[in-house]
């Protein structure tokens, strides 16, 4: 059997601005591999980097124009939807939008247990739901008769996690799952992810722009910029020793909750350039040229390949082996 849980091979997704607008590659020739062992794989990047589009490609919500996505060695478009949903489940960004406001959330848990987990017996359905709910820290009795507006954001996100857990998937795709939650509640959800990974052996693709939580929880990380993966490797290594100029700027700009680092943070000025977003999307070479302090002529014309430095792969001509 394959040793890869999920393999994204040279995937490209093209979007258009408006009906007659210009075309741009929201996801441009992205390849990532998630090995078949419990891990949290972070995809980090700013808004417009294509990270959510990539998640939707893996979830079969969008279909890629080029490339293919393999799950356990099989093309995901050859796998029946129901079977695929048994292996991969999503958690969305906005807990309030994840459930239909006119329906009780418990309905989605029941349907998941019946249709995806394939439990026939109604008593077993309720048992599985109660067990999963208590695992994520909720009480079956408190949940069963409520509508979404009667829950807090944190509770709804736990419900969404419980729903995703019911079929015991192999992989959960969490798209900014804590960015809409209050600061004091975030860490609880993140700890829950870590616990799920360790107890149940479920892998996560964690999509975020928050590098601090990425460092806290993830094993591997891919940094995306304007549709391309610019750096990919072990999360600790990438975040403590960033190679790509973009990753370096990202980490330098991160405000840290320790006033002692203020001087360093204040002194590292960032040049504010008047780059144009559209140009960054359509340029042939490296998409970071307009902002990069190390730009050379080659960067403007040729997109750098993945270059291996230690175990980290980085797409930057700076690391080209002479």
């Amino acid at each position: 059997m394959s040793t890869h849980l999920l393999k994204v091979e040279n995937v490209t997704k093209v979007f258009r601005y408006g009906i007659l607008g210009f075309k741009f590659r929201a996801v441009d020739d992205v390849s990532i591999v998630i090995e078949d062992k419990p891990m949290i794989f972070t995809i980090a990047g700013e808004s417009g980097s294509g990270k959510t589009t990539l998640a939707k490609l893996i979830l079969k919500i969008y279909r890629p124009e080029q490339g293919r996505i393999l799950f356990m060695g099989r093309d995901i478009y050859r796998i029946d939807d129901n079977e695929y949903h048994r292996c991969i489940q999503p958690i969305m960004q906005d807990p309030y939008a994840s459930f239909n406001p006119m329906q009780k959330p418990i309905r989605y848990l029941r349907e998941t247990a019946r249709n995806i987990a394939g439990i026939r017996d109604e008593k077993e359905v309720e048992e599985r739901i109660a067990k999963t709910l208590s695992y994520v820290g909720l009480n079956y009795v408190d949940v069963v008769n409520k509508y979404p507006h009667e829950f807090s954001g944190g509770e709804l996100q736990r419900l969404a996690i419980a729903r995703a857990l019911i079929p015991r998937p192999r992989l959960i795709i969490a798209d900014e799952p804590v960015s809409m939650l209050d600061a004091s509640l975030r860490i609880n959800i993140i700890n829950l992810f870590k616990k799920i990974k360790e107890d149940l052996g479920i892998s996560f693709i964690y999509i975020t722009h928050d590098l601090a939580t990425a460092y806290y929880m993830s094993n591997k990380i891919a940094i995306m910029f304007r549709g391309t993966v610019v750096e990919l490797g072990d999360a600790r290594k990438v975040l403590s020793n960033p190679l790509h100029p973009y990753t370096q700027t990202l980490i330098e700009s991160l405000p840290e909750p320790s006033p002692k680092k203020r001087r360093y943070w204040m002194e590292k000025k960032i040049k504010f350039s008047t780059y144009i977003e559209e140009e960054e999307f359509v340029i042939k070479g490296c998409k970071y040229v307009f902002r990069c302090p190390y730009t050379i002529d080659k960067c403007k014309h040729v997109l750098p390949p993945y270059i291996k430095v230690d175990d980290t792969e980085v797409r930057c001509w700076l690391y080209e082996k002479k």
Partner: protein, 295 residues
């Protein structure tokens, strides 16, 4: 149990709607009009015949209500004509709304969920009917089908045009609901596409369907009146439109027969105001942004 909760939801909606003064006024107007139109069931068979009463008489109180609104130049009772016309016009409006807005709902939903070439086809179809000028087409249709027209076939003709606006509206609602996160969650819960449509999308569409329905009633009554004034409605039957046609034809305006002119005009205005108030309060209720207050 299921039906019970649905009824409760319906009653709740009515309760919260009835908090709007506009809604209460609208409902009251429409209730009065419907009551008036129900009187037509009691109309004496002679009301259709000419010269039963003396002609051109102003309103007068007699022992029967026949003369209460006076008589026409053909010696018919204006009161009986009015209640029958009202019933027929409401019937035309209602039938058109039933046919047109439901065709609109169906086509709008199909357009909302289809993708690619089919979607483009639907957009082309809906938009061309939206931009086509309605009245000239209806005039042509009415001319062609004049022989076979009855109270029940006029709504069919009107529906040819009436479905397009509701379809367009339903499509945009369906599109926006289909792109929401909870639809993704529903499909990842293994809920079948048909039930997603029925239980996740429909509740959102139905509210707008109701406003579409009411708006189509208004539109249809107005359109029938317009056709009638051109003499293209069924002139042998009484509708608010044909009433106006005969008023114009007999120069009632210049001869000062105000009691023949006023009833259809007042009733049309009341119909428009009544349904308009209901439609506005329903869409205010449906759109939280218009509802105001702290959300």
């Amino acid at each position: 149990m299921y039906i019970n909760t649905r009824i409760r939801v319906f009653i709740d909606v009515l309760k919260s709607l009835s908090r709007y003064g506009r809604f209460r006024v609208g409902i009251a107007i429409i209730a009065i009009l419907i009551a008036l139109s129900l009187i037509s069931l009691a109309s004496p068979p002679r009301y259709k015949q000419w010269y039963v009463y003396p002609k051109d008489r102003p309103p007068q109180l007699t022992s029967s209500i026949d003369m209460i609104l006076g008589t026409t130049t053909n010696g018919r009772s204006v009161f009986w004509i009015m209640v029958n016309a009202l019933a027929n016009s409401l019937c035309i409006g209602l039938l058109t709304a039933l046919i047109g807005s439901h065709i609109g709902l169906l086509i709008g939903l199909l357009a909302g969920i289809s993708r690619g070439k089919t979607e483009l086809g639907f957009i082309l179809l809906i938009d061309s009917f939206v931009v086509l000028p309605g009245l000239p087409i209806l005039i042509v249709l009415a001319l062609a089908l004049k022989q076979s027209m009855t109270i029940h076939t006029i709504p069919l003709i009107l529906s040819v045009i009436a479905w397009a606006w509701p379809a367009r509206n339903v499509r945009s609602i369906a599109l926006s609901v289909m792109s929401r996160d909870f639809i993704t969650i529903a499909s990842f819960s293994g809920i079948k596409f048909r039930s997603i449509l029925l239980y996740e999308v429909m509740p959102y569409v139905l509210g707008w369907h109701l406003t579409n329905f009411i708006n189509t009633i208004i539109w249809a009554i107005g359109m029938e009146t317009a056709l009638a004034i051109f003499g293209l409605s069924i002139l042998s039957e009484d509708t608010l439109g044909t009433m106006l046609y005969w008023v114009l034809n007999f120069n009632a305006l210049f001869r000062g027969l105000w009691w023949w002119i006023l009833p259809p005009i007042v009733l049309l205005i009341l119909i428009f105001i009544g349904f308009y108030l209901i439609s506005v309060s329903v869409s205010t209720y449906l759109n939280p942004r218009l509802r105001g207050g702290v959300a």
